[in-house]
Amino acid sequence: MKILDTIPIRPAPSPAANAPALLQEIAAALDALLLSRQRHCIDLGSLPLSPADRDMLREALGTGEIHMELTTLGNSRIEETGVPGVWWVRHSSEDGILLTESLEVCHVPEIVPADTTDIAIGLQRLRQRIAVRASGGQ
């Protein structure tokens, strides 16, 4: 371990290079959302973001009122930032590996509302359970 520690790791040069442009993009997207209800999504994985970039984004966007945890095919965190309408979405796999991270500009991310077919399937299941109960089963 000692020897491993002596291997110098060169951190990439990390000025906040992309965050300012991203913030501009978010502002423009919010404009579009207000004017024409248009959703927008920015894939953070496709941009080289330095730690300084991330800090700047976090700081400028702040923390909002809603934190959601989605548990399907692994965990996902969906958090509204301090800027209403801007959502920070992180999808991870079953073994905790980050699959994709994005900023969504919308009223509610599309993945949140229950889907009609899923509701129908759920309803079916519920009816079955009610029927089972009514017939005296557990």
């Binding site: 002596t6 291997i7 110098p8 790791i9 060169r10 990439a12 999504c41 920015i42 894939d43 994985g45 496709s46 989605l70 399907t72 095919l73 692994g74 996902s76 979405v89 999808h91 796999s93 079953e94 073994d95 590996i97 699959l99 994709t100 994005s102 599309e110 993945i111 889907d115 077919t117 899923d118 399937i121």
Partner: protein, 367 residues
Amino acid sequence: MDETILDAFRQNGLSRRAFLKFCAATTSLLALPPAAAAAMAEKLAGTLRPTVIYLSYQECTGCLESMTRSFSPTIEHLMFNNISLAFNDTLQAAAGEAAEAARKEAMRKAWGKYILIVDGAVPMGGGGAYCVAAGQSAVDDLRHAAQGAAAIIAVGTCAAFGGVPYAAPNPTGAVPVSEIIRDRPIINVSGCPPIPEVMTGVIVYYLSFGMPALDRQGRPVAFYGNTIHDRCYRRPFYDEGRFAHTFDDEGARNGWCLYELGCKGPVTYNACATLKWNQGTSFPIQSGHGCLGCSEPDFWDKGGFYRPLPAATGHWPRGEVLGGAALGGAVVGVGAAALARSRQQAAAAKSAKEVSHPPPKEDSHEH
């Protein structure tokens, strides 16, 4: 099985949310704009579950090993539960007659529509006798299966370019898939093995958007558009001229560029430097070993994995050949000089006849 892919998700007790998450992860993986996730979701929700026939010929099963280690069970899930993998002799439980029957049935039902994945080269030598299964040679088998395929994905460098079996002296007369099948769209997913996410990503892309853009080697540009070198995190060291000279010197310890140790990154198109391996843990260069160029044609026959890229590929005896050339040149030179001397002599004799006391003549050649 008139089920769509979304239905298949539901069949497995998964919601549309899981499906959307899967689409988001895949678009991100494919480096598509995020808006494509919605398009993909819409498309896949209406796409019938495809039949996938996976045939293996002259190969080592490394590609399948790699594929079953996709970065997340999410994608694997899609592959093995939601896409109907109708035939793969390594993964399926059935064997022998039963397996062959199942495969024939699957092919008959989806004739003209299934996706054919081929891994391994196809030996042509000895009438195809080097690779025979169930009484049929690989080449006949492939020709037949290709006829009913909507598209063929040649997985691994062996299927795409011939790979190891194709390497000199190629005793079995192995050829890549593209050499046998010319009338079907073929997507080459090369690598030895290919990155698992690339294999699954290509399948999902094909299902959502059809044929991906291919480079001139038939590989999807989304994954094979850049060289390893162009995306290598050691690139600054290359540019600064800092190189590891051996695998245990100071440069190697400092993580400097591996060019001198034979790295083929500058001429190798693959996604290792960005997607990495084993759930994004690392990739060969990050672990201190140069790129072998495994996703390029003939990577076995390029002079040696540890010979630097600019070095000669041939293994000819340098000293002998060049020494011989020098000797030959010297002999010709002596001959030329002798010829010139005899002409000089003739000329001198001639002028001696004309003038009784010839003035001393010098000859300087070039100044």
